[in-house]
Symmetry: D2
Subunit: 382 residues, 4 copies
């Protein structure tokens, strides 16, 4: 089994691998308030280790640069002032080269600390930092894609398109009514929002063994689904009209053919591939059109051991709310999850962009219902 | 027992009573996108009877004015075009006198229909229309208050302030774990969002027998609760800062004394009275400060038979989502509830402004978390 | 010749005549930030007399209501706080009846003052107040029209449409080069922005004897003028696209016929009538399409004695800027004109809605280039 | 005397010199809608030569990349679609290296063309392109400064601060009344907005021989000039309040000392240095406070031969409008100046950032009254 140091190094190296095809120009711009520049992600996850671990637990640690706290704090109000979120793309300095030096500097200090004096608290924080970095690895991929998609040249980052998964199962899985245990119960890492193991009663339900495909969704478009208010939540209807949404993000119709932008450039759509880059609003409208519904996060968790999942985050019809007995940790770490428990919907599963081993069947991902830029998909229930 | 006709007349008359002190000038303006002018409310609830019942079920019915559909449709996409929500305050015509004629005209037709030819469908739609009008009666009061509050003269609509309730019970009610039945089970009217009776498992919990008072909330203000991010949901923190929220709606500090605007003018705050006009964001922050939480709507429903309630809508920590087996009705009536099931929080109970007999312990009210203009209050749980 | 008291009474009565067909409901709403409610106009012009004259010059004067200063101050920063401009439509109180009592009260006090103790300063301020009220009389008409136009019922305020003037002259007037005297030189009232008589050198020019007609403007529309960027100023091009402007304000095409909303309802457009409700942006684009230009305000002033004018305000290509030696008066009266001398264009002439005798050939009206709701027209020059 | 080819090469090289200290990261981000990224400027001025000259006049010219028209067109509607202005900062590709290759490619083609087959039209367009590039050189400096100023690290681009000019003259210059000739009359290059030589009559005036210094402006701040509405134009008053403007751009008070951000980092303010980065609104308020005024552009032009100027653009109180007989050129080149003649104020002179030899005493620069990011200053008149 891997040591914590090995695990640390492996995850840190994966961030570098994700960025290996980036040009220096790609690291700085921010293409939307909800997306962050690669340079910011890379520095921020490093700052997390320095701020949360080295500063407090490594007595001789000298900060690499005291300004970095201001620059690369994300949203921790308890730690202090930070640059405004929508200004992250203006940080032309420090240079990316400098940020990579910062990474190396912190990695050396972390490895020294882990090898010499690793208390339980340090171990716990390091594991949290590793998982935190894995989350940003996924955002790196989705944010880079979003920025590159704004470029009329349709740049290619990778030679081959990694996202083109097909379902291998069909039909509906039936689950019986009953009291089920929900939440993380094992003796391994999880986020605080998965804790508070509790019982939930589920009425009997059926859940699809497959995710909706591009071809199936094209039928919804062909049926003029985007112009019929009866399928849409009220706010969804305003959203598609105000933003002129007529298809999933990155889709583009040229003459009679549908294409989508991918990290390997503009590609024709494969009708048998699993649909992705869909908002909750669209997922909900599609389900309404099909006269079925989306599963709740509890139904998903219970059914997940019998289902094929892991290539797309699956929107559930559960709002992101605390479990009974949810506790917020003291201090900055306590700002990790709890304060976002409003106006967001839970996604379950994992995606192609998720770091290997990062997710699990109790994992609770969450986004606002209008966002499309994650690798999201639709699974139906009834 | 009252006949349906009697019930119809009684509810229709109550709308007139609510408006009896209004001046003609008060009927037209709209003070916020979320609030509607009294004239619009009065015409809209009447239009509902004409559009949903008379037009279809009274063969000889002549529309009072064919333009009124366009003017007074609220949000029924399936019925056709309507004026934009934020333009409701520009309707200086028809005159309020004309709108009252419209009411009389529809009332005569409705009574004729109910007395002569009342099928089960008509009965059901009439009961829906009555309940719909009761909902707008509450909005009439809250919207009028909101508009009058914008007037630096602090106008008085009523001689005495109706909202100054005190708790009569204290302490915590303990509820055991178990499977509970949720939803409307009786053979009487309810909204579609209460249907789909289903079982819910509740972990053991305690719920407060009293609502938070003004005096208790003043302690939160005195403790600088509005300036400490650790108590606030992330979006709440932005909301209070962007909107400079530093106290409940209608509160105003003059020298060292706290006042609040009421429908009987500006009044000093009674510390023992139950707090009202509070957003979910504030309710949540207050609970966080107290190191407890808000109840879920299921906990509330189970505990409600042992609790004193009915003077203030109580924010729960449940998002407004469909019950299992929730069904949307066909046609325009189906737009009543389901399409709002996103980004809103459930409130349970009733308020001083709720029409007598309108609410019940399965009733699900819902608003966005930032709204303060309803008669809302805080009940804690743990 | 009329006495000042007679003139005062006559102008004050004209305000009442303009409003005689209004319903109580019409007095309160505000349909745009740039427009004010009739009740506000009526109270504001009255407040002007009380604030600027009675308060200071009538020793025994009691304010009708001390709150009215806050409610009906328009933009005089030096006088104190006032309600925000876009909240004027929320003043359901005082009632219009009360505002008319305020008028009567002030009129009695003014007449007493004028008849008993009229110093030169009082006389000057009264004349300013009279001219101020005449300006608001024009705004009353244009603002009422704007609000009523938002009503899908197309209400009629007057039985016959007052605006349908035809040109009686044709061709071009030629003016020689030379040094001309500009500004008000007579011994009669004028606004401060007309003062500072000064010399201007004009190169020779030609100016049209007629204003552009609806029929001529329809040719511009037919030539797809609204879709061709080469005719439009850059900000104008954004303005027509952002606001979907495709015709003059109040115009509406039904099948193949063009209509416009007037104070006597929706009427077919008379091609020979003079075009009105046109922004500077549109006037400029039309001139560009015709390969000519708009006159400067100096050209207009020099040519005006030989021209027919007075039914439409005529956009000039002069920005609203101070004349040499322009002086701002001390105190609140000094806020009348000078502080608006930025980002506005000068209009010369007068319109059907201008109070008789109010304008003159040195009069400088001014509006932002995008506004269409005044009775504006186009005169060409070259 | 230099040949056109020499001049071409010299100006093109100066662009490279301006950027020599930039890091690759600095080239891409856009820090405001009104500012453009360095990469965009560099590519755009190059595209101008390819689009306006090589494409039409060099028969064998192959476009470097056909997509560049879409990417680097600024505002020429007649040439075709272009990316939205506020998206210029998202162009991570082409890389800056590629853009420099584009420059070299176009330079080689241009030199070949100029040396072999330089018609009068090519010569005229090349001179226009050179002047166009010089204008962007100034914007490069001001836009880079604006972006770097957003960085909390206060980066230094140059070792020494280039902007710290002192007045060498004092007192007022008196100019007599008379008819003066305005506009470019020489047989050399000028922009179309300087043409249309015409006569203007000026009343006698006095104009300051010096520009306002930082120390003088600090007196205005100390006198609470930013909180007194009587000094401000109405729109200026809203602007300073909405944007919390309390000092010139880049100024920052730390304890009791005033600093300003410069391209050589944060520096203490030199009270004797000439004030810069001031909006028209502030210039106008300062003049009002001093009970004098800004000169008109005609006064400036007449006085300029007796004045010291060239380190700061000087706001005039003239709106940017066409001269009599102003003609717009045919085609894309005609979009250069005329379409911006609305809502902008004229600046005269030149600044430290202006390319040597670029400006002249008839030169008309123009910006909206709220902009501060150019090297602007204040000269008074009376």
């Amino acid at each position: 089994m891997k040591t914590l140091t090995q695990k640390y190094i492996e995850v840190r190296e994966r961030t570098g691998l994700i960025c290996q095809n980036l040009q220096i120009e790609d690291y700085t711009p921010q293409s939307a308030v909800f997306a962050s520049p690669p340079k910011w992600h890379i520095a921020h996850v490093t700052w997390f280790f320095e701020e949360m671990i080295l500063k407090k637990h490594k007595s001789d640690h000298k900060l690499f640069d005291p300004n970095f706290g201001f620059l690369f704090n994300s949203y921790y109000n308890s730690i202090g002032e930070r640059i405004e979120r929508h200004h992250r793309g203006l940080l032309t300095r420090p240079k990316i080269e400098e940020v990579y030096k910062f990474r190396t500097y912190v990695d050396q200090a972390m490895v020294t600390l882990l090898e010499s004096n690793c208390t339980e608290e340090i171990e716990a924080l390091t594991i949290l930092g590793i998982n935190h970095e894995q989350q940003h690895q996924e955002l790196l991929l989705t944010d880079i894609k979003y920025t590159l998609s704004k470029n009329p040249l349709y740049p290619k980052l990778f030679q081959k398109n990694l996202v083109s998964h097909h379902n291998t199962q069909k039909g509906w899985l039936t689950v019986d009514e009953g009291i089920y245990q929900i939440g993380h119960q094992e003796n391994s890492f999880c986020f605080d929002n998965e804790l508070g193991v509790h019982r939930v009663f589920l009425e009997p339900f059926q859940i699809s063994k497959s995710l909706v495909t591009c071809g199936e969704y094209l039928e919804f478009i062909a049926a003029e689904g985007y112009t019929k208010p009866e399928y849409w939540l009220d706010e969804a209807w305003f959203w598609i009209n105000d933003n002129q949404i007529k298809q999933p993000l990155y889709w583009k119709q040229v003459d009679d053919t549908w294409y989508h932008y991918t990290l390997s450039g503009l590609q024709p759509i494969d009708k048998n591939a699993i649909l992705t880059h869909i908002s909750f609003y669209e997922a909900s409208a599609y389900a309404q059109w099909k006269a079925v519904r989306l599963p709740t996060e509890f139904e998903w968790e219970v059914a997940s051991k019998d289902l094929e999942w892991g290539t797309h985050w699956e929107w559930t019809n559960s709002a992101y709310l605390p479990y009974p007995n949810f506790k917020t940790a003291e201090g900055a770490v306590g700002e990790y999850n709890g304060k976002f428990m409003i106006n967001q919907m839970v996604l379950r599963g994992a995606s192609y962009a998720t770091a290997p081993g990062h997710s699990r069947h109790t994992y609770r991902n969450f986004f606002h219902p209008q966002y499309q830029w994650q690798y999201t998909g639709i699974r139906l229930a009834k």
